[in-house]
Amino acid sequence: MPPWSDFEPFIVSGLALGGVYALSGVGLVVLYRATGVLYLAFGAVGAMGALVAWSLVQAGAPGWISWLVCIAVAALITLGYGLLFGPPLSKRDPLVKAVATLGLTLVLYGVMDLLWTTSGGEARSITLPTDNSGFTVASIQVNWTQVIGLAAGVVITAATGAFLRYTNLGTAMRAMANDREITATLGVPVRKVEAAAWLGCGVLAGVAGLLLADMVALDATTLTFLVVSSLAAVLIARLRSIALTFAAAIVIGLVHDLITPITSLTNYRDMTPFVLAAVALLVVSRRQVMSRSREEA
């Protein structure tokens, strides 16, 4: 077991990573509750946005424009998919809707691999100006990007909670999560509310893509499959509670990074989300019975 001081920097990076997973997870839960779609292309659209931003920076665009474009690209692709494929699939099983977003994932993955080929070992990276400045807490180096990562997770979770609780649009989304038909009968413009949920999820995908491209790597495959980590948090929360999603995401981020200095386990650290989600799901499912509501089937 390495000394405690080896673990200290990983607490900070783990919290930051957990924060980004949390904001991704919140986006996934809100979209799932409002539309019934588990958006498996979340990582791929984020990666797409980040790669477009990278190209803009290479072409000489100022940083802040590229960040906005990154978010806009992810948001527009997500909204476009939602408007195009949301209605025809709205009556289908949640599983079919989720698999359809895998179709989008494959399309985006192919496009990214085609346009930003990763041969020749040229490593792309996005660096935010907050990477190089920071401060020290109890002899641990903290940079501002890590602060942004954690803060974004906290703020987004709290803001989404308040939004769902206190605004009309949020109330409509919660109503649709319960029953789409009845909500429509009550005069809620179902399509518009769904479009808002798609747009919001897309914006979060863009933010997550940008932050993860900086914190982890700017690589289509890595970013596309990082969504699986936030998916694990969402699964632990049973696709319901955003508070639980946040907590699970932080735990996953922390455990993942804290394992890093332990030599015998470090190769297996990427298994953290899978193992935690699998254990949590299997424990929770022990209490399940045969009959259950339609939306969960």
Partner: protein, 337 residues
């Protein structure tokens, strides 16, 4: 029915004896992979189409089969068919052990848990590596510069013979699945897919038959892994990336999950098309894009896939042509509107 059987026999004869003669070694090797992956696609088709279990981790299951077979082939001098069956059984046990608790989950949750487990298996394989003739339980020798190749069956030591060997194994696996679908398990699966509570009410042991499907699919995927071990000569963990499970599900959905031909179509899409494009110098990324669009198209408009859609479309085209031809000789008569 007799005509159909004759067509199938003629087709198989062509595949077995025609392809090794007519095609270059490049395409014979490709067709070996097609035979292997048609078994994998068949297993996934059974899960998705017969029982309604979507697995996002079949490539990881295939990797377990390939790993076990490679280890056995290096460690023992057992005949090939024995090794294939053993690899299938090991994979089956792994699949059932993983599946038993996961079967409590349904639909979306089950699909996602398979994605998680496949990710975990991929990471383990990345770390322990595939056997390459080394010592110990894992059989991996990290310092081997020229590791020995995985041995081939003595009756099929050349690439062409190994292709025929793979096709024969694939036929046996298809017959095995066919026998299941046509008998009691197949009927039970159909009932479960329609409605689980109804199947339960009619006295079908839902858990048993779901596990049975999982066991069958894992077994044949494990056998396919064993074939793949021989076909590739050397195995590396990068040959089994997690994203391939998603592409595999995509092509299986495109091929069609309700017919056994769908598995062949899926394998051709998955292995033959990329080889063709590579030969033409076209990037395989176009295929990934095409598969993505195909998944969206299949899910929105054609749930039974290409194996169902193409014959229907051809029949419709045939009817249209016949009507046109029937109308053509009598232009002066003035067709009724």
């Amino acid at each position: 029915m007799r005509i159909r059987a004759a067509v199938i026999v003629a087709l198989l004869a062509f595949v077995l004896f025609g392809i090794p003669q007519l095609f270059s070694l490049y395409y014979v090797d490709t067709m070996t992979e097609v035979a292997v992956y048609s078994i994998v696609a068949l297993g996934l088709g059974v899960l998705v189409g017969r029982v309604g279990l979507v697995s996002l981790g079949q490539v990881a299951v295939l990797a377990i089969g390939a790993w076990s077979a490679a280890r056995l082939l290096f460690a023992t001098t057992q005949p090939y068919p024995v090794v294939l069956i053993e690899a299938g059984l090991i994979t089956m046990v792994a699949g059932v052990v993983i599946g038993l608790p996961a079967l409590r989950l349904r639909g979306l949750y089950l699909a996602l848990i398979t994605l998680m487990l496949a990710g975990a298996i991929t990471i383990v394989l990345d770390t322990i590596n595939f056997p390459n003739g080394g010592r110990g339980f894992l059989g991996y020798n990290g310092s081997a510069i020229t590791p020995p190749a995985i041995r081939l069956p003595s009756i099929a030591a050349s690439d062409k013979a190994y292709f025929q060997y793979s096709v024969v194994v694939a036929i046996v696996m298809f017959l095995l699945v066919f026998a299941h679908i046509r008998t009691r398990p197949g009927r039970a699966w159909a009932a479960i897919r329609q409605s689980e509570p109804a199947a339960l009410a009619t006295g079908i042991n839902v858990t048993l038959y779901k596990l049975w499907a999982l066991a069958l699919a894992s077994f044949i995927t494990g056998v396919a892994g064993g074939l793949l071990a021989g076909a590739s000569h050397y195995l590396y963990s990068i040959d089994f990336p997690a994203q391939n499970s998603i592409i595999l599900l995509g092509v299986v959905l495109m091929g069609g999950v309700y017919s056994m031909w769908g598995a062949v179509v899926a394998a051709l899409l998955y292995q033959f098309l990329p080889a063709l494009l590579q030969n033409w110098g076209v990037s395989a990324d176009w295929l990934t894009i095409l598969f993505g669009l195909g998944v969206l198209q299949v899910l929105t408009t054609a749930p039974a896939g290409l194996a169902d859609q193409v014959p229907k479309d051809l029949a419709r085209l045939g009817r249209l042509l016949r009507r046109r031809l029937a109308r053509a000789p009598a232009p002066a008569g003035g067709d009724p509107p």
